[in-house]
């Protein structure tokens, strides 16, 4: 009788342990890759995306914020290409200071100095210090990127996804008019779970 009970318990335990182990192995798999490239591309299992700089809008209205009332900020232009075979959604965008040579580096670079001169070293202008990056607070309105599709992020796309991502301080010097800024970003995307009503970017 004891033997019967022992066999039953051992069989039960074996089944439970096997099921939990398999599920855990799948559930904890997560890929994460960082790099410092103009056009970053990475692969996590069957997920691959590429982030590329877009064209800055030379006819924009990116001006310094008001000291008290704030401001609308400037548009950031870039594209996210889903190079994988499954749909993905953007879940996070952060400023990255990977590759910064010193602690003052913010991840934003500029081609102009505050005195209005152009930087002799590309992207080394001092106007960078007047700018801050403001990440979107929610990505719920961001469309799903279809397999092999590209999502254009800027201030003039249908969704205005890139609007207001950069801001300039109220005391930004006069010389920073017409400056070009480059913000190095960490873009995180996740495999999109099909959901009724979600928009898909072709």
């Amino acid at each position: 009788m004891k033997k019967k009970l022992l066999i039953s318990i051992l069989s039960s335990l074996a089944i439970v342990v096997a099921a939990v182990s398999v599920a855990y192995a799948f559930g904890t798999f997560k890929a994460n890759q960082e790099g410092f490239r103009q056009a970053g591309e990475s692969q996590a299992g069957h997920l691959t995306i590429r982030v590329e700089a877009g064209m800055a809008d030379a006819n924009g209205d990116f001006i310094p914020d008001d000291q008290f009332a704030g401001g609308r900020g400037g548009d950031l232009s870039f594209s996210i290409t889903n190079t994988s075979a499954v749909p993905v959604r953007v879940t996070k965008i952060e400023l990255s200071n990977v590759g910064c040579a010193n602690t003052a580096c913010t991840g934003i670079t500029s081609n102009k100095n505050t005195d209005g001169t152009f930087s002799t070293i590309l992207g080394n202008g001092s106007c960078y210090s007047s700018t801050t990056f403001v990440a979107p607070t929610s990505f719920d309105s961001w469309p799903t990127i279809a397999p092999h599709g590209t999502l254009q992020v800027n201030g003039t796309d249908n969704y205005h996804l890139g609007a207001g991502m950069l801001h300039m301080a109220y005391n930004t010097p006069q010389g920073c008019q017409g400056a070009t800024f480059a913000a190095q970003l960490f873009v995180t995307a996740a495999e999109a779970v099909p959901n009724a009503g979600t928009l898909t970017q072709p």
């Binding site: 299992g45 006819n59 990116f62 001006i63 950031l76 930004t172 495999e191 779970v193």
Partner: protein, 197 residues
């Protein structure tokens, strides 16, 4: 019942108990299995932005009133169609290199009144501004001169304003001669008197 049948029966019972145990932990298994679908990936790339250049101020129209000069101008816009947030109106005495700010006006207002020194031709320009930024000045207005106040014969009541009449004798005709403007006499300093803030 043979021993073989007995063993088989025990094994079936064990499997049943095991299946029951698995089902009781199903929620845990389901959540883990669901987590298998949340693949994430983080990639580095760059976004580009460009700051605006301030637009030029628009040529103001100057209207000489009795005691002031009224200036009005058209809006200065960014290429996106948004108006600049403020304007500065500059006054310059004809022949002088120095310009003084006489008005700071927040859009959408685009008018200002100034009281320059009388009898002195001045020109005005408008500059679009944004915090510490300013754009190119507009073309200047034609020279305008605020006429000296006509001192009517009611000089009996001593006017507090020290009239800079060039004639030392009190002649009955106090019309100020136009040639009196560029006289080297110390005219009152052209203190900016902003009409609108």
């Amino acid at each position: 019942m043979t021993p073989r049948q007995r063993w088989s029966r025990q094994a079936r019972r064990g499997l049943l108990i095991g299946a029951a145990a698995f089902l009781s932990t199903a929620p845990l298994n389901a959540s883990l299995a669901l987590a298998a679908g949340t693949w994430t990936i983080t990639v580095t790339g760059r976004g580009i932005s460009e700051s605006a250049e301030m637009p030029m101020g628009k040529l103001p129209t100057a209207t000489v009133l009795e005691k002031s000069i009224r200036l009005e101008w058209a809006p200065s816009m960014y290429p996106t169609g948004i108006e600049v947030s403020s304007y500065a109106v500059m006054r310059q005495v004809v022949g002088s290199k120095d310009a003084v700010k006489v008005c700071t006006v927040a859009s959408p207002m685009r008018a200002c009144e100034d009281s320059p020194p009388t009898g002195q031709p001045v020109i005005y320009t408008v500059v679009a501004t944004e915090q510490l930024w300013h754009g190119p000045a507009s073309a200047p207005t034609n020279p305008v001169t605020l006429p000296a106040p006509t001192v009517v014969a009611a000089a009996a009541v001593s006017s507090p304003s020290p009239s800079p009449s060039p004639s030392p004798t009190s002649t009955p005709s106090p019309t100020a001669s136009p040639a009196a403007a560029p006289s080297p006499t110390p005219t009152p300093t052209p203190t900016p008197r902003p009409g609108i803030h």
